[in-house]
Symmetry: C2
Subunit: 224 residues, 2 copies
DNA sequence: ACCTGAACACCGTTCAAGT
DNA sequence: ACCTGAACACCGTTCAAGT
């Protein structure tokens, strides 16, 4: 999967081959194609047609590359446009953040996600707080609601890739129902009761379900 | 940090030194002390007073060790006892799952968490569905609510370690408020508005806030 | 049966050397 | 100024060999 053709010993790469943006873009390509584990300095430099040490002219270490990757991907957060109401804006904002994390699940694996306040979070927070203000919700309640929304989105995105595989495998849910039915009914009566209705939602639908519940909580706060 | 004293070349470990449970227990010790990255076959075998290859008599590979670690930790989920009402049971169940993930953040990093249905999830699901049945909530609604609860818990636990550091650093929120105040007020008016009230919650409180919102959604479903 | 030594193919990174 | 070769200290794992 390296770039270029591979005949004979590679010639020395010309002078202007590398720059920070190209390195970050190629790193993202590798991650999208084969996951974060596949991103080694050797694989990355191969795809760039260069030797591993060339990277160190542009980044102090691999972690600096990953931080640049995080910044680039968080910058791709798309602010919703032309939204009819504050309630709908809240929904679109959460969908947009969810979509970002689902499209780039690597974000959830990067330290930057856990430790720093990222661009996407700041820009969405601004829009969220504006909605809550317009809805007449006080600061403390708004802060709590923003935190709750974000936690629901992060959890949904975390479980998405694994559960999505379940949704796409036509046999998975059949096997899952059989497994759950095999559990002792005296210990798991409630699960026995509901399993015939699995799966009631796919991953998109379950996100929409929870989102609607949270929006109802906002309605209640706006009334209160 | 290896076990035992370290004088001279190590003697050969006696025959009964190792077994699966001891390996798993030691692996958890290493992870709790220094994180998942510190768990290498060499570090683990050092702490066990043994050479790396000895592990391979008991586990096929490192991944098998990690799967056993996941199983052990998920088994530590504590079912709530003596709970006065279904609503309170739902709250306690979510607290218990949250506590498990916060006490053992490594669970969120393990593939087993994303890909398989774990013991803690099954046992808590049984109790959750029992509550929803008692509350007269239909299957589809119950399935959606369970999924929503779990996603909120997972998101809360994911953000917990990083944000907890913020709560514990007495200067963090001062710096954070200054940084947010430095943002251009014409682009971030709503954030300027709320930042003086940061932090309104610590990580435990924000979890309780969101949990209560979700419980109100259950109340609404039970009435409807 | 259970533990080990040596070796292999990886990894991120340093340091000095090429062009 | 920018790219590279060789080397180092790691990693997980194989395979044959000890006890």
């Amino acid at each position: 999967m390296s770039s270029g053709t591979n005949d004979g010993p590679r010639r020395r790469a010309p002078r202007g081959t590398l720059n920070r943006d190209l390195i970050v873009a190629t790193a993202i390509k590798v991650i999208d194609a084969d996951g974060l584990d596949a991103l080694t300095t050797r694989r990355l430099s191969d795809d760039l047609g260069v030797r591993p040490m060339a990277l160190y002219k542009y980044f102090a270490d691999k972690d600096a590359i990953l931080r640049a990757v995080a910044e680039e991907l968080f910058g791709r957060f798309e602010m919703p446009e032309r939204v009819p109401s504050d309630r709908e804006m809240l929904r679109q904002l959460m969908r947009s953040y969810f979509r970002l994390l689902v499209d780039h699940p690597v974000l959830l694996q990067l330290d930057a996600f856990r430790d720093e306040t990222n661009n996407a979070e700041i820009r969405s927070a601004e829009a969220l707080y504006a909605c809550f203000k317009a809805l007449g919700i006080d600061h403390r309640e708004a802060i709590g609601l923003v935190a709750t929304f974000v936690r629901f989105v992060v959890g949904s995105a975390t479980l998405y890739p694994g559960r999505r595989k379940w949704d796409e495998d036509p046999d998975h849910w059949k096997r899952q129902r059989q497994q759950l039915s095999a559990l002792p009914p005296e210990v798991y009566p409630a699960i026995h009761d509901v399993t015939p209705d699995f799966p009631a939602f796919n991953q998109e639908e379950v996100f929409e379900f929870g989102l609607e519940k949270l929006l109802c909580a906002v309605d209640a706060a706006a009334r209160g």
